[in-house]
């Protein structure tokens, strides 16, 4: 059963000549308990897609059904509550609030829900136990390594037992050992029944995914089912082309190699420009008629 359902969803920023099409008529259906990795170069619309799915942003056009309920027109406060109860976020950096300690950071979503202090602390401790950070519960974020911060962020994302976990490049700032630790956590979450959406630049990460989406210019170019434990087929090609990858630059080179490996599509910008031209032609025709 699909938990996320996007129909012809577009997201357009700005207006006039400064129009940017971040998402272009995206159709996407994600079932419960899928682990979806989303790959694509910078500016391909990965984050915009995550923001729309995560209810941080509203689509300009199109329909979004979350849990079989349309969420396009609901109020901001209601969106916040759905976000709190249904979705857990993990970002690339600055995940934790610097003034709160680890325990308080993890318990924060519960406090917005109105859970009592005792219960909050207990739940947060359980969650920290699960991610192996219980011994650091009174540490402040500045006292933790990047990997540890991500682990705590994952604990916080999980605290409300959300159906969906959205992670925007959670391993982007981590070394390979920490990356692996963090990804194992995501794999564990997935095993326990959550739907995971994970944006990444690293083809290796697709090893954990059951499905891989490749994006470019606001569209999903390629949608591929993948065997958990194996790198996705398309991503694999990139690895073979550009080996060995050790640095971030190599990683970016890896992603361009991935994009080279998938079929091309007319760029969205070209399409917009085409539409604009059409519109100006129409305007001229109307003006001519008026003159007559």
């Amino acid at each position: 059963m699909s938990i996320i359902n996007l129909k012809e969803v577009s997201k357009i920023y700005g207006f006039g000549d400064a129009t940017t099409v971040a998402l272009e008529e995206v159709d996407l259906s994600i079932d419960e308990n899928e682990f979806v990795a989303i790959m694509g170069p910078s500016g391909s619309g990965k984050s915009s897609l995550m923001n729309v799915i995560g209810l941080l942003d509203r689509p300009t056009y199109g329909k979004y059904m979350l849990n079989n309920r349309s969420v396009d027109r609901i109020r901001t406060a209601r969106r916040s509550k759905i976000r709190r109860d249904t979705i857990g976020f993990v970002f690339q950096s600055f995940n934790l609030l610097p003034r709160l300690n680890v325990l308080e950071n993890v318990a924060l979503p519960l406090s917005y829900k109105g859970v009592s202090l005792g219960r909050r602390t207990k739940l947060a401790e359980n969650m920290l136990e699960r991610v192996g950070m219980i011994d650091k519960k009174f540490f402040f974020p500045s006292q933790l390594s990047s990997g540890q911060v991500q682990c705590v962020a994952i604990a916080r994302a999980l605290i409300n037992n959300p159906k969906i976990i959205i992670a925007d490049e959670p391993t982007g700032n981590l070394d390979s050992v920490s990356s692996r630790l963090v990804m194992e956590l995501f794999a564990d979450i997935h095993k326990k029944g959550s739907t995971v959406l994970l944006v990444t630049h690293n083809p290796e990460i697709t090893r954990y995914a059951s499905r891989v989406l490749y994006m470019r210019d606001g569209s999903i170019m390629h949608d591929e089912d993948s065997q958990i434990g194996d790198v996705a087929e398309t991503a694999k090609k990139a690895i073979h082309r550009r080996a060995p990858r050790k640095t971030l630059d190599d990683d970016l080179a890896g992603i361009s190699a991935v994009m080279d490996a998938i079929p091309q599509k007319t760029s969205a910008k070209k399409r917009v420009n085409g539409k604009k031209k059409k519109l100006s032609k129409n305007k001229k025709a109307v003006a001519r008629r008026k003159k007559k």
Partner: protein
Amino acid sequence: MSISYRDDIYLAIRTIRFAKMRSLLTVLGIIIGIVSVVTIVSISKGIEKQVSNQINSAGKALIQIKPGVLEKKNSSDILGNLNSLSNINSVSSLTQSDINIVQSTPGVEASSGINIISGQLSTTNGNFSEVVMGTGYQFPTVINHQLAYGEYFDPYSDNIYQAVIGKNLADKLFGTKIPLGQSFDFHGQTFIVRGIFKQFESAPLSTTTDFNNAVFIPYQTAENLTNNTAPIYEILAKASSVNNVDQVVNSINKNLLKLHGGQQDFTVLKQSESLALTTSVLNSITYLIGIVASIALLVGGVGIMNITLVSITERTKEIGIRKAIGATNTQILMQFLIESSVLSIFGGILGVILSFIVDYIIGATTTLSPIIDIPTLALAFIISLLIGILFGSIPAFKAARKDPIQSLRYE
């Protein structure tokens, strides 16, 4: 209170603890404002208490007849209230016959005219400028006060050169606590001290003269010294009972009006009216100074607004994270409102502590005795809270309306 709001209070307190210096500088304006307001209010309350003690010590049956007219102006006009005081003391329209008619009014147990003579007193210790009052022999009865040493004048001591002095003057004029039998020169006559009053309750800003620093001589003696030109400062009368004060006031008023040919150029005041008069003058002054002090509060509020705005810009990313994990706009709004309020109340608390110190110093170095009571503390608390809410609301609204995506992207 919602749980998340309680957390906000806790977090706000922690924020203050984390950045002590910054918080202290932020609330400096509030501290100064609260100290000013609390000090003014406490001084005003202190004076009110002193005046009311003074008036009560004279007894509730005391009636004052003052020259001039007390214009009952619109009490909402602050400056109008201040004027009413000066009107009373302007020109004396009272005469000896008024004293006589007050004395003979039914229900008056005792009465005394008071005139004031200016001039220098000289003793062996030097020359002094003190208030010298001519009073009738019933004066101590009228004001319900006894002598500490010696005795007051009797009905037959109308034209003698003897004096009774206030307690504070004894040491000042003669360098001894009990200067009975000592003498001083005044208007070319030598006066002998025959009595010393007990300490009077004194009050700053009171409409009556401070009797502790006055010299009392017989009324007729004073008239003689000045060739009957000494102006009558006031006539004091004591009703035979507290219950018939109103009746006596009316009779005196009627009698005097008849004598003055229907012209109301005098004022008959009960003690309660006297107190009300002082209180209204005091309130007017308090309001005026309060307005000036509130400028400091305004500046303090702007300081809080400024720092909260900076803090919100600094914490844009935090706002983004909070929104992403499910904080509603209202919860973000409340977080920053609570933070500015806690900061402001923190300033208020420091202000109150400082006020206690300032009031202690004022009490120790002046005759004022400021009173900080619970309503004053409540006032300080409410003012701080209101400033926090008022000046925190603009930044808090700004924070609440921040777009989560842009906040998350903020570097």
